[in-house]
Symmetry: D2
Subunit: 492 residues, 4 copies
């Protein structure tokens, strides 16, 4: 069992919720929770083997035992998944080719803590191709694709992760990832901040000497800013969560598709003619509204911010208060990041057969807790679909118990994951190669030029051809021909 220095320490680590939902999961993850269309399911039968990976002795074909996965023999299946993922991640493959000669990560010793999926494997193998040594662990106890972990272990990447870890396993894996005799990490790639926190707390000397941290998640970034405020961040850190490409793709474009997907897979609802209210008209709300409108739904929105509300007006949506319309709605969707956006009082007034779901942030956007009361009956009608039944027989169809619909009931396209992984790779290269002094002990946004570079690496996916500025044009515009092309405050 993982040893904590003391009770406080233990308490501190245990207070972090074992995350089961966060943006940017691969399809296999949501599949694993829904069991649909999952090819993986066929060959990752765990029923034959109840032994904990921690208790098994395994070695890959080269004799190395520096890893801990479910079953290294599944490597071949995982390799195929990785190869399929590579097809849609040509930006990383292209990055491998462009940077392979110069090995920009030669000397980098990276510890990583992310979802472990085929797409992540493409990232890790790219980092290795660019010269880095990597050790990896999972940021989520449920999301690991065991075969992929096996494939990585087989090729020699020390991976410590399996699907269905316990909380204790979780920290044990992180520790094994960091704590390697004769090897000291100098770069951290994190998704959620757990690895960073572990290193900060447990291996302060490693932390102090690190050359950079790259953090993916809202939560992790928040923690870094807190460290920075407290004057305890002694390493430059890159916030890749707020890069343009990530924000627009993860939110606007990805949600435009996943709202339809999530609703269809769970309810088979016909969108045409349905009355829908979307709470919140930020990027996620904009994506949801655009898709539903295009499918023939009649959509109205709620907003607190008059600027977003005015955009809603211009985009053709009535801006209402939820109370004004709640009785007429066929579908209610929350996208606010706020809590109690749909209250019990409003759920009481909703009509029979209405679908209620959340695309926003946490599962408190809809006051689901208020529905766990004796007068209401819950009936699970499918995976992720509950009928909550009122005494008068009214049924409200609640999806994913109010958790994120797009994570629970649909999948994230590889293309979006490719953007994220490419951004992470570039951030690592930048931090590792930056001349002394460029980055202080602070949290940085990705330089716009690198954001643009990530985008440019994805042009071939669309057979898109960029126009180049002539010298004369660049001068006229006051721009460098290679970018950046926009001021930092540009809104896109």
């Amino acid at each position: 069992k993982i040893q904590f220095a003391n009770a406080e320490d233990k308490q501190e680590f245990q207070k972090y919720p074992t995350k089961v939902g966060r943006r940017s999961l691969s399809r296999s993850i949501s599949q694993s929770s829904t069991d649909s269309y999952s090819s993986a399911a066929s060959y990752s039968d765990s029923s034959d083997d109840e032994t904990s990976p921690r208790d098994k002795a395994q070695a890959n074909s080269k004799g190395s035992s520096d890893f801990c996965v479910k079953n290294v023999k599944q490597a071949e299946f995982g390799r195929r998944e990785i190869e399929i993922a590579e097809q849609d991640m040509s930006a990383l493959i292209s990055l491998r080719k462009r940077a392979q000669a110069e090995k920009p990560l030669a000397g980098a010793k990276i510890v990583g803590c992310t979802h472990i999926t085929a797409q992540t494997a493409v990232l890790i193998e790219t980092l290795v191709a660019l010269g880095a040594q990597c050790r990896w662990t999972a940021c989520n106890i449920y999301s690991t694709q065991n075969e992929v972990a096996a494939a990585l272990a087989e090729t020699g990447v020390p991976v410590f992760a399996w699907k269905g870890e316990s909380e204790d396993d979780f920290w044990w894996c992180i520790d094994r990832c960091v704590n390697k005799e004769g090897w000291q990490a100098n770069m951290i790639l994190d998704d959620g901040g757990d690895l960073t926190h572990w290193v900060y707390k447990k291996y302060p000397s490693v932390f102090k000497k690190a050359q950079g941290i790259v953090e993916e998640s809202v939560t992790g970034v928040h923690r870094l800013y807190q460290l920075s405020k407290a004057g305890k961040l002694c390493v430059p850190a890159m916030n890749v969560n707020d890069s343009v490409t990530k924000q627009k793709f993860d939110n606007l474009y990805c949600c435009r598709e996943s709202i339809l997907d999530g609703l269809k897979r769970t309810t088979d609802v016909m969108f045409g003619g349905k009355q829908v209210v979307v709470c919140g008209y930020g990027e996620v709300g904009k994506g949801c509204c655009s898709a539903l409108k295009a499918m023939g739904a009649i959509v109205c929105i709620t907003e607190i911010d008059p600027i977003c509300a005015l955009q809603g007006c211009m985009d053709g949506f009535r801006v209402v208060k939820l109370n004004e319309v709640i009785r007429q709605m066929d579908i209610v969707i929350t996208c606010t990041g706020n809590k109690n956006v749909v209250t019990r009082d409003q759920l009481d007034r909703i009509k029979n057969g209405c679908i209620v779901c959340n695309m926003g942030h946490s599962n408190t956007e809809i006051d689901v807790a208020s529905l766990r009361s004796p007068e209401l009956t819950w009936e699970r009608v499918r995976s992720q679909v509950d009928h909550v039944i009122w005494p008068d027989g009214k049924r409200v169809i609640l999806l994913a118990e109010g958790r994120l619909l797009n994570l629970s009931c649909s999948t994230v396209p590889t293309f979006v994951l490719s953007i994220t992984a490419t951004t992470q790779a570039l951030a690592l290269i930048e931090l590792f190669n930056a001349p002394e002094g460029r980055y202080k002990q602070d949290v940085y946004l990705l330089p716009k030029k690198m954001d643009e570079y990530v985008a440019s690496l994805h042009m071939p996916n669309f057979d898109a051809h960029l126009t180049e500025l002539s010298d004369e044009q660049a001068k006229y515009m006051g721009l460098n021909k290679n970018g950046p092309f926009k001021p930092n405050y540009y809104r896109y």
Copy 2:
């Protein structure tokens, strides 16, 4: 075993393909083939009982044994499914109320052969409520929801159907449905023409005395027209397949949603920026193009008919020959009703990773047979998804082996099934009550006024409020205030 009069007879009935795909399946059917999100799956465990229903002695709670289903004890589960379906089929419920007092089907003895699903059960129970006696059987050996059949049997409807019938079972069930001592059917409701054909061949005296046939499918309608041409149709028949509401909803509006759903569930592809060619710009093609364009795909079309092609132009799609674009496409979709629309030669030139699927009619639209050749490797990566691999490593992603994507990989919304069922009910009422002479021994389209009535029954689903003509306006327009509102040739 079912007895055929002679070898020819046997041959004739056996030549009918045991249909596994046809429009208007309920969600439960496609679920049953894909095993995803299926609540039914949980309680319809057949592993406990390998006995053929034909060999079991069962009786419902009232002691009747005039049925043959998998397990009548599952009735309660089926009843719940029926109740849920009723929520979205308010048109039929409303029809029950409007016509219950007058019992317009009193005296009708209906034999029916359709998919047996919760939605069909709502139809059957509506017919009973309107005064009819019904006996029912399945038009498809795989599509029966056993619990629903059980629920019907429990309430006293003689049902002969279970999931996984053999060919012999299929005809045995039809025969049991028709051949009841002391009871003679006077109405036929058919989907595919098998029941009609059986009655025509085996019970010519029943056939001759029938008051009407209502046929749902393209195939069945085709057979009726052939009978009529041959002068052998001695019963008025109603072709409900070509009613406006069915055509526009089944094709345009339903496919607009199911193309997205089918592609997502099978491939998780991101639509934004994808290059797509849609072969055929009829109603199905129009639906597909509209949806994909709305999701940010770049869509072009092929057409043989210049009028449809010109519509494509006006709707913003480039009209091309498939050969001009085949190399660049990310997704190829056929919607033509024709065969060999995508040839082996074109599949050879398609790019790596391209998705190929069919939304049209039969599985010959794409020349799938040509892909079953030794130099190509097939790899099943998920249910309904094959990678066909060329010697150079190129993978083409073929969905549902070229069969209909919308049937194989997505579901038909209850709302669309409601329109179909309501149309069937009204056609039965019309034929049963028509004054002598209104219908001859021929195939008829549903009168426009009834088509309009079906639509009007669905207004409450959308809280839609029709405007009524004033007397003065009706006179000015030369219309009856209650419709029909359009000439027969109106295109909508």
Copy 3:
């Protein structure tokens, strides 16, 4: 002065309203009424010459005086307009080339009565190129482009038309067109039925011997059906008004653009966020709704026909009664073909600043007459824009005094006129060359194959490439490789 045989005769001809509004006007016509952006205006100054053309002696450069136009010296200006029109009417030019060798109209003596515009000139010169002799007159007293008429006269086409004819001039021109010593028309091309009626009444011997009539307008077609019913139609007539291409283009696609154009030119209104009600969801309503929704308006509809209403639901529009929403609307648009669709009572409840206009048929859709009452003040604020002011200061913005917005305040694209003109040309060729017996003394729709041919001639405008059926495919579909491709009842 034109001589009528007797008072009844005179009365009969005078009861025909002198039409000023009818679909398919060229841009120059609406320009002439609005005086905007009109290049023509610059050189068709009539102020220098008040003499009636009937009183002028003119001859073209070849010495012919068999015409009557404003000023034959303007021919050069008109020729340029014709050349510009030819650029967008490549279908007719292509028809000239394809059919020029065979001269399919050799021997045809055509009298025509249409709007006389550059686009019509392209049609007339095509007919001449195909071998016909033509004499032409105007179907509208205001719509003639004088320079175009001059250009036609200069090249030898006897034209009798000018802008600003009196009613007497109108019939005089028709008579001059028909009544030519030693020349007898055998084909009639009409738009509105006035020419047909004149020939029928005044030259019955010409009428009886004619080989065919081609009629463009709703009104003219209506008259032909009446003649036919009365057994007085002794000539085969072609109703080109109801061809697919004309209907879909004139109504759906054309109105989709002209609703925006008409509203902008008159009111400069911003569409984004505006609440709009569109009365009637036929082809015109569908076009209007689609365009306004795309520009960010919030659109609801009214309908009497439940099928169209259901289409509206599926397309994402709330179906309401006008009374429910009238107080909230920013824009009210009628597209019904009915009368009193917007009543005085409703206009009383409309909000300040609301725009009211008509895209349907006649100027009685909005009860404009009821607004001509003493308590309301009318204020003309621009051409085609009136403020109707209520006693409390409320202003309703009425466009074109309730006449057709698309005719009064926007223009018809040359492309749409090209489709109409090509259809007319093909109908003439068909009727003139049809083997005896194909057409009886009745009114016919254009054969579908010719409708398809019209469409195919417009493929090059869009660089659209049709796919051809293989022999095998044609056989499989039961189609002729050259069409027709659809049954007559196909809805498109």
Copy 4:
């Protein structure tokens, strides 16, 4: 004649181009250049009076002569225009009501230099209602609505402006505006920077004591930043050009409508099926593409910035180099802000009948100068429309000689002007009332909270109802219940 201190001074002022094109013109301005649908034209006949306003003695009804307009007697006409504008500017009216009691501009002495239109008058009268004293002049020699200037003069606002000023008049008016015995301005509202520059140069003591400058235009803002850099800006200045509401409305939403409007008014082109290339996918390009796609055009784009290019892909537009597609295009639109985006070489390869226009910035986006060469013939076919004719007869349709299409050939909706005017008013209030120290001698962006306030004042235009945060929600989000609701870097 206006006196310059010396030759250099004169030269400096004269080098400023007399602007005739700039965003945010009212409809009346573009009307005046196109002469279409202009109600104003009817009553502002200047032909009766050639006398320069500078030479006329005029007094308003109260006897004041402190103004110089064309004809103060036209005041009544102007008043009506102002009243009509007030209907669509309810935000300012609402601001009057909210702030009238506190008179937040009591003591403010504002000199203003803007377009003088009905909309501006509503702004000026709002400032007066809030307690300010105002003196006003025109920022453009052509754009003044004489009747509106008269109406302002009549109510006592000293206005110095008329339509058709000479360059000398322009500066004379500015000087009269500033230079008033016994009155010293303490606030400047400018649109273009001319007034600011005049005060800075001519009345340095006024400049130094001013409490604030509010600047509207790109050019004016650029000058302010230059002054600031040079350390010569001794007054706090507010850049209202870069406020969110202005940017998104002026560019995205406004151009979405004006591209259609501008093309239709000039060319009557049908959009359906047209092949269009839009150069530049910033806000303006996004607006153009969205509108044209919705109307059925087939749109591709060019981009230099890979992020914007990727957005284009996701939105469904092919990203190409201009050279790849130039031969096929029907319409070419520039929206880049760059120069020589369409070169002579490309214009040589363009196809016959192609429309070329500019929605971007200056008239050098299209290399129009290169078309002024002897081998090409220019033919003016309508106002703002030239045919440029190649030796082989090819015609390219050039709009507005390459100047901004939306300014030259369409209009800016009052609603957009309302947003601008409200922003200006709030910026004046903020600067005038800010506690000492809040603003230094620098250029500031409008505080986000005021941007949000501008938006909120426009909610009633759309009957939009904002949701308010509960205390608990505000706390959870870490927000003030009254905003601002977003971080400064939020992209919208």
